[in-house]
């Protein structure tokens, strides 16, 4: 049982990092990014290639850099150009992007699954109540917690973070105050994409790499972002950790309905408590 709860926590932590990026991009650009799962997958593959040359940590860094650049270019060429169009147009464009990225990854890396080793430092397992639990999975929880803490500190303690919070509350007023909101949005899209890439690399050693790996987790991310109402990172963290438990622990305790719960909750939130996506802004 402890093992199941921990496994749920591991998946929840991964979801949290991914969903934080999704929520950030939504906050600034009002774009529900269907490409986010594909960013995660692209990040995993980019990290995989870099890790073969320089090890896991090089892979992690390379993935963050590559995806940040990708996000910046995407924001400059696509999101900024489409910011005055119907938001649904941009959503469909990110959906097209998802197809392009999945296909490009298949082109470059092929369709067969690949696996990546955990760094030597975190290899092996520890005994927990009689069962062996991989150290790497504990490290995933720690890495997610560190990233979330850093993100929170940046949002609430730095000047750039202040601009990000202001611009997601009211971009027009923020711009009037002399903040270059386009630059803020570009920074945030780059950061959101980098977070997706990093979570891809973090996932790689315990979930195998495949071009389809982004699909399932994308939908889970949407559940997190919608259920937490896009209100706060804290809400998203709670939603992500709960969803992790539903996915893993729920599958053991309530195998028949566990898979339905997230989607029904998401639908209920959209119908009855619409904040963020449907109702008032952040």
């Amino acid at each position: 049982m402890t093992i199941q709860i921990l496994n749920g926590l591991v998946y929840g932590s991964l979801l949290l990092v991914l969903a934080a990026g999704l929520a950030l991009i939504y906050g600034l650009r009002r774009v529900v990014n269907f490409g986010h799962g594909a960013f995660y997958m692209l990040g995993a593959y980019a990290g995989y290639t870099a890790a073969q040359a320089g090890g896991f940590w090089a892979g992690l860094a390379a993935s963050a850099v590559v995806l940040a650049l990708f996000g910046a270019v995407l924001d400059r060429l696509v999101f900024r150009a489409l910011q005055d169009r119907d938001p649904l147009v941009t959503v469909i464009v990110t959906f097209g992007l998802l197809l392009v990225i999945e296909d490009a990854v298949q082109w470059i890396w092929g369709t067969e699954g690949r696996s990546m080793d955990a760094p030597a430092l975190l290899a092996g397992s520890v005994a927990l109540g009689g069962d062996a639990f991989p150290v790497y999975r504990l490290a995933v929880i720690a890495m997610a917690a560190a990233l979330t803490a850093a993100l929170l500190a940046w949002l609430h303690r730095s000047r750039a973070g202040l601009f990000v919070r202001a611009a997601s509350l009211d971009p027009a007023i923020t711009a009037v105050q002399g903040v270059n909101t386009d630059a803020v949005a570009m920074l945030v899209t780059a950061l959101g994409a980098a977070l997706a890439g990093v979570s891809g690399v973090i996932a790689a050693p315990f979930l195998s790499l495949s071009p389809a790996m982004g699909g399932q987790i994308l939908v889970d991310c949407f559940v997190v972002v919608v259920v937490s109402g896009l209100g706060s990172l804290g809400g998203a963290a709670l939603a992500a950790l709960l969803l992790g438990q539903v996915q893993v622990l729920g599958a053991v305790l309530l195998p028949d309905i566990a898979a339905l719960i997230p989607f029904l909750t998401m639908a209920a939130v959209l119908l009855w408590r619409p904040t963020g996506l449907a109702g008032k802004r952040l």
Partner: protein
């Protein structure tokens, strides 16, 4: 000629083109592909109807398509209970009724939130189809044996490409004509008015929820009809049919073709299948090219490919 007359004439001409295509195309892989394309075109049509009349983008229509297929499959699997001739239309009507009830609730949600809502409900249906092994066969899917005769036609007619192509083609034309006639009726104009400005329509004294729910029901019924044909042709349906990636493909077809016209999504389905089958012989990269095409159409041709003639005409007129 009046608008309704034009629609009727167009539908008759399109219906007559069906047998001509079937006669020209040699039976085999290509005709089987055309049969599948017509079935998915019906799904794209249903997505387009919802977008055109209600301004709603759905990421969950595979659930209605799949539910129609499952209902028909379950009905055909219990021949003592219902004759097939009753089970098939009943599957469509039941889905339309369910969608009307659901529509009363969901049409209050707009824009991206509606897209996410349909995605959530669609995935809930996907998980339910996976889990309800007793009814749906779970992940293994449901294999359906057709009775010897349906509507006086031998079962083989439905499962061979020559037969199914013609049936699906005629169904597609009939459903598109029905949607076009409804679109230019009082009801159609009212829903367009609500789409443009719901508050103003309400000020004029119209209830807005019922017409929007009715469009949702119509769209669900059309999608279910596509699902019924799907299960007749394949004799099989599995949760994969309900997955949101199928909804996404149908949405791509509808938006590629354009949803300003009723027939746009049909053109979109044709382009989608042409790309998939023709490009695959030249390059394996058809999915990426489809994505690029989708992005280009969304950015530069908001009316879709079916809006292209009008656009060119307008530009030509402006120059002349």
């Amino acid at each position: 000629m009046s608008g309704a007359g034009r629609i009727a004439a167009g539908a008759l001409a399109a219906a007559a083109a069906g047998p001509a295509i079937a006669a020209l195309v040699p039976p085999g892989v290509l005709l089987s592909l055309l049969a599948q394309a017509c079935i998915y075109a019906i799904l794209a049509l249903s997505v387009g109807v919802l977008a055109r009349q209600n301004g709603m983008v759905s990421f969950g229509h595979a659930a209605m398509f799949g539910a129609g297929a499952y209902l028909a499959g379950i009905g055909l699997g219990a021949p003592g209970l219902l004759p097939a001739e009753a089970a098939l239309p009943l599957a469509v009507l039941a889905m339309a009724a369910v969608c009307f009830g659901l529509g009363l609730i969901v049409v209050r949600v707009h824009g991206i939130a509606f897209a996410m809502l349909t995605l959530a409900l669609g995935q809930a249906c996907f998980e339910a189809a996976n889990k309800a092994r007793g009814v749906t066969g779970g992940a293994d899917g449901l294999t359906v044996a057709l009775p010897r005769e349906i509507f006086g036609l031998p079962a083989a007619t439905f499962q061979r490409a020559e037969g199914m192509f013609l049936i699906a083609w005629l169904a597609m034309v009939a459903l598109a004509a029905l949607a076009a006639l409804l679109a230019r009726s009082r009801f159609g104009l009212l829903t367009e008015a609500i789409r443009e400005n719901e508050e103003r329509a309400r000020f004029l004294g119209y209830g807005t929820v019922l017409p929007r729910a009715a469009v949702f029901a119509l769209s669900g019924g059309i999608a279910a009809a596509g699902g019924v044909l799907y299960v007749l042709y394949n004799g099989f349906v599995s949760p994969e049919t309900v997955h949101w990636s199928v909804s996404g493909s149908a949405l791509i077809m509808a938006l590629l073709g354009g949803t300003r016209t009723v027939w746009g999504p049909l053109a979109g389905a044709a382009v989608y299948f042409l790309l998939r089958e023709q490009l695959v012989e030249v390059t394996e990269r058809w999915l990426g090219l489809l994505g690029i095409l989708l992005v280009l159409v969304m950015v530069f041709l908001p009316d879709g490919l079916s809006g292209l003639p009008r656009r060119l005409r307008r530009r030509h007129g402006a120059e002349a």
